[in-house]
């Protein structure tokens, strides 16, 4: 088909939508981040840089580092668990594959919050894991599992694993077996052929999976809220807390920082994968 140069009218609704409901709210929000808080009315129309000064004042450095660390660890764990999963899954027979796919997708249609409470029940001091371990006599005192940063990571990996599996699976499925087999035939070892052929070929899926796990984790406040306890509050928690405490301008400034982090990450993705779209999102 010829590439037509004219501006197509069917694209208009989406672009109009993007301008009115993406660009405009985000722009207004960035504007808010330069205003002053007011107890009674939310904010007053006086320009200030205080919100940004406050972020970089030192009170928030630990929290920022912790956010990045928790998100990074979550992404890494999702990859370590999810990549082999996708690879093995892509080699199953057609029927078994659709069953596994179905099993991955079903939890999407249940409630993510309640799945998280399931984790609370498992990790609690008199929850299932501690009860079993005590019962078998492996431990005397219940382990402190819940309300730790570790519990937050577990909860996040659990919620986001499918987002790593789906794109990785999508590339593994498309993987040209002949290329891999050719490499093996030419005498490359299993490990070597994996690193020189399989991994580079599936890299777009991996990177896409990393974006799809890392970016949501920096904003996902409810998991660390429910599982994390007093020492794992993340950027998302602070923003939510500032909203509930009616400090919209400061929440906006924190969100601008978060937005910058997300865009930076996406920029890195684009630079490495040479693609503008995320691989295997469906």
């Amino acid at each position: 088909m010829k590439q037509e140069k004219s501006f197509p009218k069917f694209l208009l609704p989406m672009y109009l939508w993007a301008v009115l409901l993406v660009a405009l709210p985000l722009g207004y929000f960035i504007f808010l981040s330069f205003l002053k808080q007011d107890m009674t009315y939310g904010f007053t129309l006086s320009f200030t840089l205080d919100n940004y000064k406050r972020i970089f004042s030192g009170d928030y450095q630990d929290m920022m580092l912790r956010s990045v660390a928790i998100s990074g660890l979550t992404t890494l764990l999702c990859f370590t668990v999810g990549y082999p999963f996708s690879y093995i899954m892509s080699r199953l027979s057609g029927r078994a594959r659709s069953v596994v796919m179905l099993l991955i997708v079903i939890p999407f249609y249940t409630n993510s919050l309640l799945r998280t409470t399931g984790i609370i029940t498992l990790l609690s001091s008199n929850g299932l894991i501690n009860t079993l371990l005590t019962h078998w006599g492996w431990i005397k005192e219940p382990l402190s599992l819940l309300y730790t940063p570790g519990a937050t990571v577990v909860g996040m990996v659990y919620s986001l694993l499918p987002f790593m599996i789906l794109p990785c699976y999508s590339v593994c499925q498309k993987l040209d077996r002949q290329t891999v087999e050719a490499a093996r035939d030419l005498g490359a070892s299993r490990v070597r052929s994996f690193f020189t052929v399989t991994l580079p070929l599936t890299l777009p899926g991996i990177l896409s999976g990393c974006v799809l796990t890392f970016v949501p984790t920096i904003g996902m406040f409810f998991i660390s809220d429910l599982l994390g306890g007093a020492r794992s509050s993340m950027l998302g928690n602070i923003i939510n807390q500032q909203i509930n405490g009616r400090n919209l301008p400061f929440a906006a400034a924190l969100s601008v920082v978060m937005l910058a982090m997300a865009l930076l990450f996406i920029g890195i993705y684009r630079a490495f994968s040479g693609k503008s779209e995320l691989e295997g999102i469906a």
Binding site: Y41, M101, L102, S124, N126, G229, N244
Partner: protein, 354 residues
């Protein structure tokens, strides 16, 4: 995605579409929109009231600030009734989202206990009706804490390391820090506040969880050994774990009143008054108190409250909790000016982020 999923999901879609069509018509019931904490009006009460031909649309907020925000965005409309805490009321009044009460339409106005009226937030009782009241308390598990907790100061004891659950309230926790220093919970003295911040940050190593809504769950489950919690939550702990001890801090109690208010531009004004009248009924009010375990603010409820409830030391602290045995009389958290408020807010955020 493979074929079966798509088919399956299109089935789902079809099913849900039919369901949506079937219930699109909710009937011509009279509506009333309520805004307050989750569970603050017990399910049973709502069900009883709905049996009278009303539909209660209940919006749960997590904080007072959120309620204020929702009301302001709606310019005092959308919602009919709000139940919020004392210190936020002046902001509600000042921003004109609360309606002046028409006492002619309050059929049970005489039931309101004057003891809880005419407070700093609404001295002439033009806007607010006291709903429930309570004293936050310390509870702890003596099996896990090997010393006796007597007051707020003991919460800083290093033997409580990583064992404490506290409320997620940016004025309450700095407030008890001030009480532990022998200061008022509402101080605006900059020097005192600087000391308070210092001391608050030292509490962090002991804190395992900061949770305003479900601290009792962590205590019941054994994930925390001691906690500073609201009356209702303390009751829930004691009910399920009778071995827990309840402490009336020797430095003096904090005190809170939550109030019923009608939104300035309530879309269902008649229903709003009807529901308020229902809640002010002595029998209903007694039921509310007993179901969610807060102090009753209704004189007519007296006759309906069980003797057992009135003697409950968690809800109604004994004399020993008040002066002269305690160092200070119970104190309510009050609204402070913007600058001081920001100091409280900043120390709390710093504390949480540590």
């Amino acid at each position: 995605m493979k074929l079966p999923i798509r088919k399956l999901l299109s089935l789902c879609l079809l099913f849900s579409m039919t369901a949506a069509l079937l219930t699109g018509c909710s009937g011509g019931k009279k509506q009333v929109n309520v805004l307050t904490y989750e569970g603050y009006i017990p399910d049973e009460i709502i069900a009883d009231y709905e049996a009278r031909g009303y539909q209660v649309n209940y919006t749960a907020a997590q904080t007072n600030e959120q309620m204020l925000d929702l009301l302001q965005a709606a310019k005092g409309g959308t919602y009919d009734i709000v139940i919020c805490d004392d210190y936020i009321i002046p902001s509600m009044i000042e921003s004109q989202v609360a309606a002046q009460l028409d006492y002619g339409r309050l059929s049970h106005a005489e039931n309101i206990d004057p003891h809880y009226q005419s407070q700093f937030y609404d001295e002439e009782n033009l806007y607010s009706i006291p709903y429930l009241a309570g004293f936050p308390l310390i509870v702890y598990d003596p099996a896990q804490v090997d010393f006796e907790i007597k007051g707020y100061a003991d919460l800083w004891d290093s033997r409580l390391k990583n064992k404490l659950v506290i409320l997620d309230q940016y004025r309450v926790i700095p407030g008890i820090t001030l009480l532990s220093m022998g200061q008022s919970m509402n101080t605006t003295d900059q020097a005192v506040l600087a000391q308070c911040r210092e001391k608050l940050l030292q509490l962090k190593p002991n804190v395992k969880l900061i949770d305003g809504s479900t601290p009792h769950v962590a205590l019941i489950n054994g994930d925390a050994a001691a906690g500073f919690v609201f009356t209702s939550q303390a009751m829930e702990v004691v009910k399920q774990r009778p071995d827990f001890k309840v402490v009336y801090p020797e430095e003096g109690l904090g005190f809170g009143v939550s109030c019923l208010m009608i939104a300035a531009n309530a879309p269902h004004m008649d229903a709003a008054y009807d529901f308020v009248n229902y809640l002010l009924d002595g029998e209903v009010s007694a039921k509310v108190s007993e179901l969610i375990n807060y102090i009753n603010c209704n004189t007519a409820a007296e006759a309906y409250l069980s003797a057992e409830f009135k003697a409950n030391p968690v809800v109604y602290p004994p004399d020993s909790a008040f002066p002269p045995a305690a160092k200070r009389a119970p104190e309510i958290i009050q609204t402070v000016d913007n600058e001081t408020n920001q100091i409280y807010d900043e120390m709390w955020t710093a504390f949480k982020n540590q």
